[in-house]
């Protein structure tokens, strides 16, 4: 025998749906149908009514379906997740992946093909006085759908983790930031003829906020624009390192950021699909720091170019900027970042591409009080923590050795701690001494053995001979 043989499952082990679940899924299905109708132009007659009905059906249907969590006793509930077609890279998962990826491609490059859908944003567009052409309108449509997904799937999170106050507060926070700072506030600004500005996005994630073009655009829009430039600069240079020092990168990545917000809500059912292998980690480090270098170099070149009025670099810096915007801003962050949720997990962009995550990660690794503490010997190496880490961190590798987890990529979502059946993991901020190893008393090399004279060591003290020998293929 060489493993757990899933082919022995003669029929699908995921259970049939209850009556209520069917009702919920039925309503969601109607909502999807209504979107399909909109795609074919049905919404032209009355976009507002069509919009309300479509999203109403989707929202109410989802809410009815999510009652399944509420009706079962509170606790970790991942039953059947790795058997289900939609969450285990089955046919449904692939269909979903293709639809999401395709949707992004059409939205970015051929919005006219989905003009019927984009019309659903007409009421908001008219209200705030946004550009009426499909190329402008699509961004309002995108913001609408994105925010809707965060809110609806945020409600699912609240039901699913209702026993866990860390998850509840964190979910409320990301939903609040997406709804308020990622949707309402920017369009209110537009309504009052101010620049559409996202106060919770900073360079280098929102790279153009510190590019000459962005700075000029903002500072030319009256006093508030100057404040926005100032705000962006202060957040990038001063607030970010300070907050990360005290709380780790989680203050941003899993509490504030909009990309993180989508990952933590809509992406939750897919978090276990992230690759945990050492190879994936290697690729991750190469990619994310390359993107960081790319954005830093591009930003530097743009400023040199702008200072010398193109004398030194000519059109080169513009080429860099265009390529960055296309390759990273659109393809990576959007198409791949969200389109691949059902295939590679919810944090593909955050893990492999986001330059903001790269900077925060460096700060978190070297200048932060944040760590995940491992609770002594209680780990049973079950693997729940690693499986459900959306960032693909092999949490168990550390936990089973009694070692704290200090990793640049950890976004502090807290799910590893939530799913651990033995209470081994705690996210916390604290003194930086002994941040890595945790209490010596319970470290892997702590030896709860009596000693004879030839092997003298104090109780609870690691013998030095073990400390000197590198621990196997230590990947930390």
């Amino acid at each position: 025998m060489s493993g757990y043989d899933v082919s022995l499952q003669l029929t699908s082990p995921t259970h049939g749906f209850t009556g209520k679940e069917r009702v919920g899924l039925g309503l969601v299905g109607l909502g999807v149908l209504s979107l399909v109708a909109a795609f074919f132009g049905a919404a032209s007659v009355n976009p507002l009514a069509f919009s309300l009905v479509s999203f109403g059906l989707l929202g109410v249907g989802a809410w009815v379906y999510f009652q399944r969590y509420r009706e079962r006793p509170a606790g970790i509930d991942n039953d059947g997740l790795v058997f289900s077609s939609s969450t285990a890279r089955g046919a449904l998962g692939w269909v979903l992946g293709v639809v999401l990826t395709g949707g992004y491609i059409l939205l970015y490059w051929w919005p006219e093909t989905i003009a019927g859908l984009i019309q659903l944003a007409n009421p908001i567009v008219a209200w705030i006085g946004y550009g009426e052409d499909v190329y402008s309108k699509r961004w309002v449509f995108y913001g609408m759908v994105y925010t809707f997904a965060v809110v609806v799937m945020g409600i699912r999170m609240l039901y699913k983790y209702r026993h866990n106050r860390y998850q509840i507060l964190r979910t409320i926070s990301v939903v609040f930031f997406q709804l308020g700072f990622g949707f309402i506030l920017p369009y209110l600004l537009v309504m009052f003829n101010k620049p559409e500005f996202y106060f919770h996005y900073f360079w280098p994630l929102k790279y153009d906020y510190l590019w000459p073009s962005g700075v000029n655009w903002l500072s030319n829009s009256a006093a508030i624009g100057v404040f926005m430039v100032f705000w962006g600069g202060v957040m990038t240079v001063i607030a970010t390192p300070i907050l990360t020092y005290f709380y780790g990168k989680r203050w941003y990545c899993s509490w504030v950021c909009g990309c993180g917000g989508l990952a933590e809500t809509a992406g939750d059912p897919f978090r276990h699909l992230s690759d945990k292998s050492l190879n994936a980690w290697k690729i991750e480090r190469w990619m994310i720091y390359s993107v960081l270098v790319f954005v830093v170099v591009t930003t530097g070149m743009l400023w040199v170019n702008s200072a010398t009025q193109g004398a030194v670099l000519g059109g080169l810096s513009q080429k860099f900027a265009q390529w960055y915007g296309f390759g990273i801003g659109l393809v990576f962050a959007g198409v791949v970042g969200v389109g691949f949720y059902p295939i590679m997990g919810s944090r593909v962009w955050c893990r492999f591409g986001c330059p903001m995550a790269a900077i925060l990660g460096i700060q978190q690794k070297f200048f932060s009080r944040f760590r995940i503490t491992t609770n002594g010997g209680q780990c049973i190496s079950c693997g729940n923590c690693s499986t459900y880490c959306e960032m693909g961190i092999d949490v168990r590798w550390y936990a089973q050795r009694g070692q704290n987890i200090v990793r640049a990529s950890c976004v502090g979502c807290g799910v590893c701690s939530a799913v651990c059946p033995r209470g081994v993991l705690k996210l916390e901020n604290g003194s930086r001494t002994a941040r890595y190893n945790g209490p010596v008393l319970i470290h892997e090399d702590r030896v709860s053995v009596q000693t004879d004279a030839s092997w003298q060591m104090g109780r609870g003290t690691a013998p030095s001979v073990l400390e000197d020998i590198p621990i196997l293929t230590d990947n930390s």
Binding site: M1, S2, G3, Y4, D5, V6, L8, Q9, L10, T14, G16, P73, G75, I76, N78, D79, G80, L81, V82, Y166, F246, K276, L278, N375, G376, G377, Q378, I380, S381, C382, G383, N384, S386, T387, G414, S417, A418, G423, K426, L427, E428, N429, G430, S431, G438, L441, I442, V447, S448, V449, Q450, T451, D452, S454, W455, V465, L466, I469, L472, T473
Partner: protein, 443 residues
Amino acid sequence: MSKHVVIIGNGVAGVTAARFIRKLSDFRITIISEESAHFFSRPALMYLFMGHMTWKDVKPYEDGFWEKNRIDLVHDRVEKIDTQAKKLHFRQQQPLSYDVLILATGAQSRFIGWEGEQLEGVQGMVSLEDLNQLEQQAAHIKRAVVIGGGLIGIELAEMLHTRQIPVTFLVREASFFDIVLPPEESEIVNDAIRAHHIDLRLQTETDVILGSDTVEGVRTNTGEEIPCDFVGITIGVTPNINLVKDSPIETNRGVLVDALLQTNVPDVYAIGDCNEFREDGIGHRRVDLLWYTAREHGKAVAKTICGHPTRYDRGVFFNSAKFFNVEWQTYGQVPAKLPDGVATLVWQDKTVPRLIRMNYNKADHIVLGFNTLNIRLRHDVCEQWLLEERPLDYVLKHLRAANFDPEFFRSYEEALLYQFNQQNPERPVQLKPRPSLLQRLFS
């Protein structure tokens, strides 16, 4: 040629021994297992069936790890040990010689000899084979009976429950696991079992398992016949000594070892679930069937084999488990029945299943142990307090230092202290104040 250490069994005991021997030496290391090609976490078997994880996820090390660390793996069954020639004979492959042999053959399901135990549809739940056997039948099971109210029984009940299979859970005791859990804890778990729609039958013993070829039901000691098409027997596990029974290696319940984990045959050691200590040692029972103790055996034997004779000592006892959605942690000694001269302080949340208990000496108030349900405590702090023999008022005063609940979880310390002070107005205890925000930020 360097010494060849051969380990039979790739469970946590054998694998920990191998890893530490590799850390400490350049010996040639071979691990043998018939069960699976690579080490997996046995306590995680349930999560495979419940659909939380895949086979890849329950393997603590990537498959390439072993070669990288020069640990040879053999996926075969050892049929015979020739201690004279220091040679192992296999079912399939050629014999293998060893210089040092470590037995880490684990444990197996205990069966009692009930009539009908051999019927199709009756099984235990210990090995990967058991799990695959269960998986094969799962789609057809209409009703299941689980016999035996222990840690594995409750896991099996939960596993079946996640596949929408109605479960009757036969428990001999008056309350679930009350040979280990004090009454309040046991009651909370009873409630959790029932909240998951498990048909919990306390004080119910099995008389006979009914059926001709395949199982058809269970008759209990009350004469009731419960129809079912699956019976899980989880009345305990017992050291697996099949391999050494007919060898010169001495056994009792398990393979007999001394404090250095040596058997009576030179260069043969036994660790993990399969061993039994010849004498009571410091803090340990003679047979311990736990993940943690198996791991500690592995570390200790590695040091002994690498030239640093190391006596095994279990240290301050700890354990944990999860009963449906109730997490249990224990540190030190908290027996089910309060011993003479020991008092207990127990606090229960009124709204959610949550409990913390401390046992202490009546005479000098020294704290002896902690039990918690759905409250996580810091292992190192509890262990330190127990080793330093701290009195109850000290522990209560500093209780926040032991809090390991995730951030923002509701605290319980104030409520516990309030209750204690109500009950003991003559010696009130004040909780050490929480550090201020500034102190916390810059500690």
